[in-house]
């Protein structure tokens, strides 16, 4: 056994930390798959499962040859990166860079998450070809550009510029630690555009405008999926510290993440019950996710009590925006836009409101006087957060309308009414997801 120096040990620990994070975030794919499967009708189960499986597979492929190079490949561009396509420049060298590989893994899992969010919003009526097109566009270009803006050392929104530079946006740049904005708003905005262009599922809204309930087919799958997502979020948020030396921050991040998830779940369920509904499971599950999405951006810079409050407000944001979308007759079967888009916005803004001075300094540390407005830090940081929100919304909505608009114009976007009625599994995927023998495995009357 070779004896390592302290520095080498530390480097290896950094890699280990990133890999653990990557594995956990990858496992979220499993969580999304189950949550989405449980939330759609049984006749469309295979369709949505396949999309989730492919978001990991196709996603890795695309991320390898194009996504990652654009997101984090070195360049001197403020808009997009561009190096190491196909990992080529790397593998030419004899000594490889393990940090590159570990970062690639971690970022791949994030990219798959962003892509997967969309499939929930367009579920039960989107053509499979359309899925292939939009997921490619998202993973290869739209999402990587946002990552480059906010997380590379060169992007125009980035808070992570090199030590002797100032962020382009002044103050501490755009602070979005683990991606309330970068990942969730991006995915959520794409999801919103998708569901607008597709139109509602047949029969979702009556001519009079009231909503017809179309419950998912398995609460168990949804609950399992949510638990797995929560579990995976402990890779998403704490491991976004990226280096082992910040383990103290990571532990605090884990606590803020937990508290926001908990208050999000309780709040949403409480709102639901207060509005004279029975205590159903889905609001609690979506509330948990709302809390998690909300805390993803501010997780390392807020106090535990603020995290609980952010989750609390996140519950309201989710519930309100979900109601709003129904009012607007926009049909989002998974509530992907309310959870990821609206709570993502709230998460980004909450950084500008609740960021604690000492934490902001230790995590970002570019401008000491710029932190949460409610904590006495003035409006500078909040301004940056608003600029970031607007920029991401503008970019994603613009590019996605081109993608979904052209798909619609080419009649490639939506399945026929008959296929939708029969279910996508029978019409497109070779049969039902479930095959219980007659008279066995179930006692149906």
């Amino acid at each position: 056994m070779a004896d390592l120096t302290t520095k080498e040990i530390q480097e290896n620990l950094d890699i280990l930390w990133l890999l653990i994070g990557a594995y956990l975030v990858f496992f979220m794919q499993c969580g999304f798959a189950l949550l989405e499967a449980g939330s759609v009708r049984a006749k469309n189960t295979k369709n949505i499962l396949l999309k989730n499986v492919l978001d990991a597979c196709l996603g890795a492929f695309i991320w390898w040859f194009m996504g990652f190079p654009i997101a984090l490949g070195d360049s001197s561009g403020k808009f997009a990166g561009g190096k190491d396509f196909f990992m080529m420049d790397l593998t030419k060298e004899l000594t490889n860079n393990p940090t590159y590989f570990a970062t690639w893994m971690f970022q791949w899992a994030f990219a798959a998450t962003a892509a997967t969010i969309v499939s929930g919003a367009v579920a039960e009526r989107c053509k499979f070809v359309a899925y292939l097109v939009y997921t490619t566009a998202l993973t290869a270009f739209i999402y990587p550009v946002v990552v480059h803006w906010a997380w590379s050392s060169e992007g125009w929104l980035s808070a992570w510029v090199s030590e002797d530079e100032k962020p382009f946006l002044k103050a501490n740049g755009f602070m979005d630690f683990a991606g309330s904005g970068v990942v969730h708003m991006t995915g959520g905005a794409a999801a919103l555009m998708g569901s607008i262009f597709l139109g509602p599922r047949t029969g979702r809204f009556t001519p009079a405008g009231s909503v017809v309930d179309m419950p998912g087919h398995s609460t168990v799958l949804a609950a399992l999926g949510t638990f797995i997502l929560w579990f995976g979020w402990y890779g998403f948020n704490p491991v976004s510290t990226l280096a082992f030396e910040y383990m103290g921050d990571a532990a605090r991040v884990a606590v803020t993440t937990t508290l926001a998830a908990a208050t999000g779940g309780c709040t949403t369920l409480a709102i639901h019950v207060a509005l004279k509904n029975p205590p159903d499971v889905f609001p609690a599950l979506n509330g948990i996710l709302a809390g998690l999405v909300s805390i993803t951006g501010p997780c390392p810079v807020v106090e535990p009590w603020a995290a609980a409050f952010i989750g609390f407000v996140g519950g309201f944001v989710y519930y309100g925006s979900s109601t709003l979308l129904k009012k607007l007759q926009i049909d989002d079967p998974l509530d992907a836009a309310p959870v990821h888009f609206f709570c993502g916005i709230w998460g980004v803004l909450s950084v500008g409101l609740f960021a604690e001075k000492s934490y902001t300094k230790s995590v970002y540390g570019k401008d000491e006087d710029s932190y949460g407005a409610f904590m006495g830090g003035g409006g500078k940081q909040l301004g940056n957060q608003i600029i970031g929100v607007l920029a991401i919304i503008g970019w994603v909505c613009f590019t996605c309308s081109i993608v979904f608009g052209s798909l619609k114009a080419l009649k490639l976007l939506r399945v026929s009414a008959e296929d939708e009625e029969v279910g996508l599994d029978s019409s497109h995927h070779g049969g039902d997801a479930y095959n219980f023998e007659a008279g066995r495995g179930k006692t149906v009357s």
Binding site: L13, A42, F231, E245, A261
Partner: protein, 452 residues
């Protein structure tokens, strides 16, 4: 004094950077363990969901989800403070902690997260015992009460350095040993199991569970796949529960690795024994019983995993499978209906696990893990019985504390008619009557049954 410490570090080859690495590694280990223990919530949810009838699926799922959510808030505001709260200069006592409420003056974030995950596990155990018939408000009440007060007090007794049962103090230990409950066969599982037992007794059996002639009517769970999924997730999570309870990896790697092996062997022996018992008695290769045997083995070894030899873990699992089998039979004799067998599994096997330490703790391991004296070994390993005495006192006190408080709590709810759902609702299923519809909505076109 500081200089001397620094000098020692230099002499032993340790630099400040090494100390940082040690701290960060231990923190990372504790965090990862906490994640695994949290993941057990998913395991409990699946196990519980698969073990109840499909008409009550949503009801039990939402309880499991809320145990994590309400539990986090309750443990954040009250629980952790009662369990471990201390303030510099403020007087402490042996019975209950009294500071750090809402995590004020507190920075051991990883430690909090780990303890929260444990508290959620304790609360979740109960929902299995009272499944399919308990009112939702009653659940919210006992869950909060347990996580915020009853469980933290037990934690304080056994695991906090000031507790009266603890082994983690320098002197005044009970029988000079204190109670050895490494990861909580007693603190977590017995607490949950005894609370479950009280609930099951006071709520009464599910309608139709016992025939007029006293016969037991089988009420099989609706989904065996979920039971297996839950069992596997729990088993994986237990690798956070047990090895993680060493709280550090650097310098403790021997304990951690041995604990993982003991945990594995006990689970395995529990499963194999349960298979043999059920095939021997009923000629059925019973899947659910094997899963319960695995979990019984895990609960049984939880107290002793770090201080017993690996081969004894197999005996521990073997006995645990008999304990759950016997206790389950006994409950049915007494007409106590525990749908998930949570009281036999967590209560009886948990008590057995604590007792087992008093028999089998090896003195070298005791010294390694607890800095315990030689006499504090198990009676089969040359101990003088002091440890066994402490273990028995611990079991009795936990039983009385939890049983007494939760008994009163459930009785009070019963008096107020808030404990149990109406027979009609129970018949219809709690999902339809209380939770806005069934958990499953399959509109699949299935062939008509050919035989009924």
């Amino acid at each position: 004094d500081r200089d001397i410490q620094d000098l020692c570090k230099v002499l032993s080859g340790l630099t400040a950077a090494d100390a940082t690495i040690t701290g960060s590694s231990d923190n990372q280990f504790l965090l990862s363990s906490a994640y695994l223990v949290f993941f057990m919530q998913a395991g409990f949810a699946m196990l519980c969901a698969g073990s109840v009838r499909s008409k009550n699926t949503k009801n039990i799922l939402i309880k499991n989800v809320l145990d994590a959510c309400v539990g986090a808030i309750a443990f954040f505001i009250f629980g952790f403070g009662f369990a471990y709260g201390t303030k510099e200069g403020k007087s402490t006592n042996e019975f209950i902690g009294n500071w750090n409420f809402g995590l004020q003056d507190f920075t051991d974030w990883a430690g909090f997260l780990f303890q929260w995950a444990f508290s959620a596990a304790a609360a979740t155990i109960v929902s299995g015992s009272v499944a399919e018939r308990t009112a939702f408000q009653a659940y919210l009440g006992y869950s909060f009460f347990l996580t915020a007060f009853v469980y933290p007090v037990v934690v304080h007794w056994v695991w906090d350095g000031n507790g009266w049962l603890t082994a983690f103090k320098d002197n005044d230990k009970l029988f000079d040993c204190g109670m050895y409950d490494f990861a909580g066969s007693g603190v977590v599982h017995m607490t949950g199991g005894v609370a479950g037992l009280m609930g099951a007794m006071i709520v009464g059996p599910r309608t139709g569970r016992f025939g007029p002639d006293g016969r037991v009517v089988a009420m099989p769970g609706h989904n065996a796949s979920l039971v297996v999924l839950g069992t596997f997730i729990l088993w994986v999570g237990w690798y956070g529960f047990n090895p993680g309870s060493q709280l550090a990896i650097i310098g403790s790697e021997a304990v951690v690795a041995r604990t993982a092996v003991s945990t594995t062997l006990s689970a395995a022996a529990g499963g194999v024994t349960a298979m043999a018992i059920n095939y021997g008695l009923y000629h059925v290769w019973d899947l659910i019983a094997v899963c319960n045997g695995v979990l019984a083995g895990l609960v049984g070894i939880t107290a002793g995993c770090s201080v017993t030899e690996p081969w004894t873990a197999i005996v521990c699992g073997f006995i645990s499978a008999w304990v759950i089998h016997g206790a389950g039979k006994l409950l049915l004799k007494l007409k106590i209906d525990d749908p998930l067998e949570a009281a036999p599994m967590h209560g009886a096997c948990g008590a057995f696990g604590v007792f087992w330490v008093g028999l089998m703790a090896k003195k070298e391991y005791v010294a390694e893990v607890y800095s315990g004296a030689e006499k504090c070994a198990g009676v089969f390993y040359g101990g003088d019985g002091s440890l066994l005495g402490a273990q028995v006192v611990g079991v009795i006190c936990i039983f009385l504390w939890v049983g007494g408080l939760l008994g009163l709590f459930f009785l009070a709810l019963k008096k107020m008619n808030m404990l149990r759902t109406s027979p009609e609702e129970e018949q219809l299923g709690l999902d339809e009557s209380k939770h806005g519809g069934s958990a499953y909505n399959m509109e699949l076109v299935a062939p008509m049954p050919t035989e009924m």
